[in-house]
């Protein structure tokens, strides 16, 4: 009975999570073809061992060399890393004070504040990104506002630039940064700060000496929760970014849907996965440490 309990989700995940990655790997080693599906070789088990051997021989690393050849790809990887890292930083900058404010708010306010943070999280991601189109466009709300108060004399182009992408990522991923930090700060023992002040620190010094180091687990969790998905983001660069905004998620999408080059798209995915393996493992290690620390 226990075996069945383990087996069902396990098999599901193997079939629908792990095996697909194997397939992506295989296709990344295949060649583009004008067929349906648009790649070759195709594994045809009816041709027996001979067919299988031939199948293997046709696989090659061509697509991977292509990725290194064409500038687009490695530039896109780098650009994605840069955008994800900077966005994570901005999200931290905006999110930490919010989490801190929530943790220091009076006890009876906190459930309401939690509600206010969680509500955007449950609202459609797509809609929240869309909202910024109306704000950042040349005729958008922001430009109108700045023109109205006389700060600028002509609309500034923000939409369809990298800046819009930074704003978009920070905005949509904010709850993911605030919640872990808030969870950590909330558990902070107030008497530690009192002890620090008792020993001679000012409020600011106590903050840097006590609060910041102890908030590290939450900060790390929040950063991972933003950085890792942001790296492969598609929707935000697609809607808010320009045609020269290079993010690997967008590149993968276009390879797949516009160019119909599935093998290259697969190779792009595999490389992205390899880049992410290290952060993912670090994230899981951090979570494990948190769990063991008896949170």
């Amino acid at each position: 009975m226990r075996r069945l309990l383990i087996a069902i989700p396990y098999i599901w995940l193997l079939l629908l999570f792990l095996v697909p990655f194997g397939i992506v790997l295989k296709i990344s080693l295949s060649d583009y073809a004008l067929s349906i599906p648009p790649f070759t070789p195709q594994l045809d088990l009816s041709t027996g061992w001979q067919g299988f051997a031939e199948f293997w021989s046709q696989l090659d690393m061509e697509n991977y060399w292509f990725l290194t050849d064409d500038d687009l790809y490695w530039k896109a990887y780098l650009s994605s890393l840069q955008i994800a890292a900077l966005s994570t930083f901005f999200t931290l900058l905006v999110g930490f004070p919010i989490a801190y404010g929530m943790a220091n708010a009076p006890e009876h306010w906190r459930p309401t504040l939690m509600l206010l943070i969680i509500l955007p999280f449950w609202t459609s991601f797509l809609i929240r990104v869309y909202a910024w189109i109306g704000i950042l466009s040349n005729e958008g709300f922001l430009n109108q506002f700045l023109l109205a108060i006389g700060l600028i004399s002509a609309p500034i182009k923000i939409l369809n630039t990298d800046i819009a992408v930074y704003i978009g990522i920070t905005y949509t991923y904010l709850p993911f940064m605030v919640l872990p930090i808030y969870a950590t700060l909330e558990k902070l023992d107030g008497s530690l700060l009192e002890a620090a002040e008792d020993l001679g620190c000012t409020r600011l010094q106590a903050f840097w000496a006590v609060t910041v180091p102890l908030s590290k687990p939450g900060v790390i969790a929040g950063c991972f929760l933003v950085f890792i998905p942001a790296l492969g983001e598609f929707v935000i660069p697609s809607l808010l970014g320009g045609s020269d905004t290079l993010m690997i998620g967008k590149v993968l999408w276009e390879e797949f849907f516009s160019n119909r080059d599935w093998p290259v798209a697969s190779a792009v995915a595999i490389i992205l996965l390899l880049i992410l393996v290290i952060p993912i493992i670090l994230f899981q290690r951090n979570e494990q440490k948190q769990r063991e620390a008896g949170n």
Partner: protein
């Protein structure tokens, strides 16, 4: 509370909510030019509700949502059980890795890999494939929610159930499930929301005749702002707000009740 805190909270929440407020306000704008106010009107809502394509997509989305979240809840609860209760077993690290990885995996990768799977198996893409895809990545979220509830669950309750004659399934059905029900329901709601909101994975795994609402919205907004979308957004925001408030009141009551029970 210090003034710094007040300021940062006010600015922070303003940043979070003003974009949505703008969206809502302009959905009532008479003019098609979303950014020029021409008077109050609800005509965009009317046009939206008559738009067959949107209504069809909404229906598909809701169907997919219900099906996938129910499957995800069953599978995710099983997985949570396995993770919290089963000790070491062969392949446990892989299992736990597979459960937690989708939480941080970029959706383009998950979507691509699933589509390629369906192609290899010659499965026709349609509502069925979207449901499978959503169930797969949602079950991980359900599993996280349920396993964190299971971690604080008093195991002696299950032992008492066995002691009084329950089989494994009976103990789960009669004792464990009623008690963890709130967490299971939250898991379901989370899976439902994720499914409703998903664009990328649905784009990869949908078939020609099965468009979901996010896909429809995306193709509309690529061309720019549209007041119908504003109206749709307002409706969605409204529904979510009501849902979240109801859920929070219910869960507050449940928490109070649970605090009383675990004395």
């Amino acid at each position: 509370m210090t003034s710094f805190n007040v300021v940062s909270l006010t600015l922070g929440f303003a940043f979070l909510y003003i974009p949505m407020l703008i969206l809502i306000i302009y959905s009532f704008n008479e003019s098609k030019l979303v950014t020029v106010w021409a008077g109050f009107s609800i005509k965009w809502y009317g046009e939206l509700l008559q738009n067959e394509a949107f209504l069809d997509a909404a229906w598909v989305t809701v169907k997919v949502g219900f099906l996938s979240s129910t499957i995800a809840t069953v599978l995710g609860t099983m997985a949570a059980f396995v993770l919290v209760r089963s000790g070491r077993f062969f392949g446990r690290t892989l299992f736990s890795g597979m459960i937690y990885a989708p939480l941080v995996m970029p959706e383009v990768i998950t979507g691509l890999s699933l589509l390629l799977l369906f192609i290899s198996l010659s499965v026709d893409r349609g509502v069925f494939t979207i449901v499978l895809a959503h169930a797969t990545f949602s079950m991980c979220y359900v599993s996280v929610v349920v396993s964190s509830r299971m971690a604080t669950f008093d195991q002696s309750l299950e032992e008492a159930a066995y002691d009084l004659g329950c089989t494994g399934w009976d103990a789960f059905k009669s004792v464990t499930l009623p008690i963890i029900a709130p967490a299971v329901i939250s898991g379901w709601l989370l899976a439902f929301t994720l499914s409703l909101d998903d664009l990328v994975i649905a784009s990869f795994t949908a078939g020609p005749s099965s468009t979901t609402l996010p896909i429809k919205i995306f193709s509309s907004v690529r061309l720019g702002v549209s007041p119908e979308i504003n109206a749709l957004s307002t409706i969605i925001i409204g529904l979510v707000t009501v849902g979240v408030i109801v859920a929070s009141i219910t869960s507050k009551r449940a928490l109070v009740r649970r605090q009383q029970e675990t004395v």
